[in-house]
Amino acid sequence: MSATSNTIVNLPDQRTATLPKRSYLNQEDGLLSWLFTGDHKRIAILYLISITFFFFIGGAFAGLIRLELLTPQPDLVASDTYNKFFSMHGIIMVFLFLVPSVPATLGNFLIPIMLGAKDLAFPKINLLSWYLYWIGGLFTLSALVLGGVDTGWTFTTPLSTHYLNTHVVTAATGVFIIGFSSIFTGLNFIVTIHRMRAPGMTWFRMPLFIWSNYAASILMVLGTPVLAITLVLVALERVVGLGVFDPTKGGDPLLFQHLFWFYSHPAVYIMILPGMGVISEVISTFSRKRVFGYTAVAFSSVAIALFGFFVWEHHMFIMGVSNYSALVFSLLTMLVAVPSAIKIFNWAFTLQQGSITFETPMLYAFGFLGLFTIGGMTGVYLGALGMDIHLTETYFIVAHFHFVMVGGMLMAFLAGIHFWWPKMTGRMYPESLSKLAAVTTFIGFNLTFLPQFILGYLGMPRRYHAYPPEFQVLNVLSTAGATVLGVGYMLPLLYLGWSLKYGAIAGNNPWQATGLEWQIQSPPLTENFTEIPIVDHEAYDYEWLAHKTEQEVTTVG
């Protein structure tokens, strides 16, 4: 399949290979068997389809934003329509795509299997979380259909409570409900990781993907309720005139910012941590080496989760907070860079002297490493008080968080989808086409967002639909990049769909990876394991794998 001879892909003989007769995909048939399933793998697939749907809606809004910004004049849409575009883009992408992206799809699918369990601890609650996701999604969509919402994704008061006649309450209700879907996912993961590990699966034998999802789950469980109560107060303030954030009644809009960012800053770690877990798995597999500094990488996930709760005020440096607290929060913000850097360095040392091959997941992982590093470093600039006052509310911020969220998380998500696609479907994706998509995404991404760093540095504010003519060249570059990026995201949709029917049969372990999920059939049985595994080796133990493979051959021979 691969264009290079340097590959670790090990597929069964395609002339004789078939998919397993029985798997979670064909255990039961019919739409209802999917809609009422308790199987974590089926729920993962339901989530995958749902978040893909919302990703392309959110992406369409991104396209409209870039189209409007092609010219300096406000010529495509009116300014309040433009406000609705970026608000819907933000709400959909953050709450309906990024937060559930890796945990709800790959996490749901893989966490029980990686732990050697038959399912998550609470299958019904898992299904409930998917339904809540859709109920929240429908509220958000109805806010969109009824005429949109233009608060930005942050629901900033008193703008959201007093000055807008758009569907704030509908959208906030949607986000509130989606929040519970995410709480239930996190709760399920934590209980499963604590209580359902197979015999011998100690905490420090768990794959790093589990550790990072565990850290993200802690954030979901502790952070999301604060967002929920904040949105309740916003809705009550709008509907019945409660006065908690209303300055005319003695309330303080700054309190809203504190409560909102108390969730929403940890939320960016909810979005990025599971992606980091994917990167650990992919980099280890395609370098044929145990992740360097396993313990450090595991604990750095937990450290990011903990520090993440103590940095929220850096979103508010220009909002009139006390200088002393701003100093403290600036310092704490820079501290988060330490565990992130620990991860980056350990991945780099994993690559060092590894037998690196360049399959698609690895290409995405390389994209992640570079782009996340840029996104993270610019985050440190923004954490510095003086720089922040110059750069905040400009396109520099927009570029920064898109480097982390899109360049980081989306790259990691695509790396994970390609990496585990053979496990989920039993079939390989087309290798050369997917490499093309990975490269296209990388080029398109940089073309879109690098110019925005410059624009922001030069002072172009975010959230305006008109700008001075001297910014046009960079904006045209950015819009051109967004087009390329759009193609890069459409490609996987097409060829992954194609591969469902025509892809090569993958076999159990096409990557010769060490995780428990690769030792069972692809696609797995509903009960995952015919025999509960007993784990007697560390994670990423390639010698153990080689030994095991050898033995299997001898036994068969």
Partner: protein, 254 residues
């Protein structure tokens, strides 16, 4: 020899499904748990985690309350004096009683006394309803006195208390406005608490029905135990709300 990941256990889910379930006394045992004990532990752990999210949920409100109380101390004291300690104390007793019967209910389930369990669940529900009734009465009084935040909120009682026969020091008009923040938080906090009670009472109805049907008569008590945790949590929230809203700093100087 250590290099075999999959070792055969005494039973497998596939082949020996019937044998595996043979030692399981309860029909409620779910197949993906290895043992009943694992299932029970997972359920309780999950419930505690859920209560942790509830603490964070109410935590946002408590945080706001403490902040504003600090800022607008005078307004909060005067507004707090408008609440009836008698009704608050009565409701506290009612809720503690309700929690007491819930604890007895858990005990009754554990010793498999079906009749007692149903009785205790009904008593828990009744006391919960009494609490809500008193709360409704308190809310209604606020409505009549125009103490509900919003368009009809009236501060004249606080600016000119003597005209209304209230023994309070008058507040400056801008400080009197801040009583609206107190009542906003009062309604948000007690309202969220009451909402949790209503959800709890709906669940109690369902549990009572199941208890009556005999679902918990064979030693399977996880739903009762976990609901008990939830109900006690709701009680505890009230035990914080009562002193914060009704009791502290009443009548300073007296």
């Amino acid at each position: 020899m250590d290099n075999v990941i999959v070792a055969t256990r005494s039973h497998t889910h596939e082949a020996g499904a019937s044998e595996e379930h043979a030692h399981v006394a309860l029909p409620q045992h779910r197949h993906h748990f290895e043992t009943e004990q694992q299932q029970r532990e997972a359920g309780t752990f999950g419930m505690w985690l859920f209560l942790l999210t509830e603490i964070m949920f109410f935590g946002g409100l408590f945080m706001s309350y403490l902040l504003y109380r600090n800022w607008y101390h005078d307004a909060f004291v005067v507004a707090s004096n408008q609440l009836s300690i008698k009704l608050g104390a009565f409701n506290t007793a009612v809720l503690i009683g309700s929690g007491f019967f819930m604890a007895l209910g858990v005990w009754a389930a554990e010793v498999r006394k079906k009749g007692l369990l149903v009785l205790f669940l009904v008593l828990t529900t009744l006391l919960g309803l009494v609490f809500l009734g008193v709360k409704y009465d308190e809310y209604h009084e606020k409505w009549e006195k125009h103490h509900i935040p919003g368009a009809h909120f009236d501060v004249s009682e606080f600016v000119n208390p003597h005209a209304y026969g209230i023994k309070e020091e008058p507040l400056a008009p801008d400080m009197a406005q801040k009583t609206q923040v107190f009542f906003s938080l009062y309604f948000a906090m007690t309202g969220m608490h009451a909402l949790h009670m209503i959800i709890g009472i709906v669940l109690l109805g369902w549990l009572t029905y199941r208890a009556h049907r005999g679902d918990f008569s064979s030693g399977y008590v996880a739903p009762i135990e976990n609901f008990g945790l939830y109900w006690h949590f709701v009680d505890i929230v009230w035990l914080f709300l009562f002193p914060l809203l009704y009791l502290i700093n009443r009548h300073p100087g007296s």
